[in-house]
Amino acid sequence: VPRPTDKDGLSTFDGMERAAEPGEKVQIIDPSRLRVLIAFPDPLDPSHFALRPGDDAELLREWAETKDAQRSEPDRFLHPLTREVFEARVGETKRPR
């Protein structure tokens, strides 16, 4: 879930070094499995992509507003876009320390 301050969407990277610090794990997402979300390349940073529902800023804002509540309720998806990201997850790996 993006933070409410993430106006461009959920930040993702196309390489391990940018996505994670040593000792952190990362979720691997296949963008072709996304339905509503689109991976927008960052014109200022070639390895950075923002996942957002096209130009629907209201839907993005609505999604970001569930971030805090999602922490308290890990037993269900509070927003369909959270489920969409989860369902596009094809792997998980970690960056060596």
Binding site: A20, G23, E24, K25, R71, S72, P74, R76, F77, F86
Partner: protein, 139 residues
């Protein structure tokens, strides 16, 4: 591939019971500690289990127990860890790999052997979890 929903429901029930046991022990030290647990399934993860202990004074450093069952090519890969929700791993847990083509009863046995190791891993890391949940000084 024969991996039934019933298997994953059994695994979830057992892990949830263990998470509840862990939360009960955490509550002895921190009676107001909030926690929650959930499980989900997707094409590549027939079972993803999460148990979260909230650290309300942080934004993305809740302590999360993660137990993942991942279909990777011809194998079922299983691993567990304790990490902050932003991804920093605090303790690496057990890992196991079993070919999906394994005879169902053998696969089931391998899954539950892994679950047993996860239970031991969580017992071993109760102290770590308690240290991480210690309220900041001054509260």
């Amino acid at each position: 591939m024969i991996v039934t929903t019933a298997l994953w429901e059994s695994v979830w029930e057992r892990l949830h019971e263990k998470f509840q046991d862990l939360a009960d022990r955490v509550h002895v030290a921190y009676p107001d500690q909030k926690w929650g647990a959930g499980h989900f399934a997707s094409d590549f993860f027939p079972l993803s289990v999460f148990g979260s202990f909230l650290r309300e004074h942080t934004e993305d450093e809740d302590v999360v127990i993660s137990v993942q069952f991942h279909i990777s090519g011809p194998n079922l890969e299983m691993h567990a860890d304790v990490a902050y929700d932003r991804g920093l791993i605090l303790a690496d847990g057990p890992e196991a790999v079993v070919p999906l083509a394994t005879e169902p009863s053998v696969l089931r046995s391998a899954v539950f052997q892994f679950v047993e190791r996860v239970e031991g891993f969580l017992d071993d890391n109760l102290g770590l979890i308690l240290r991480e949940l210690e309220p900041p000084r001054g509260e």
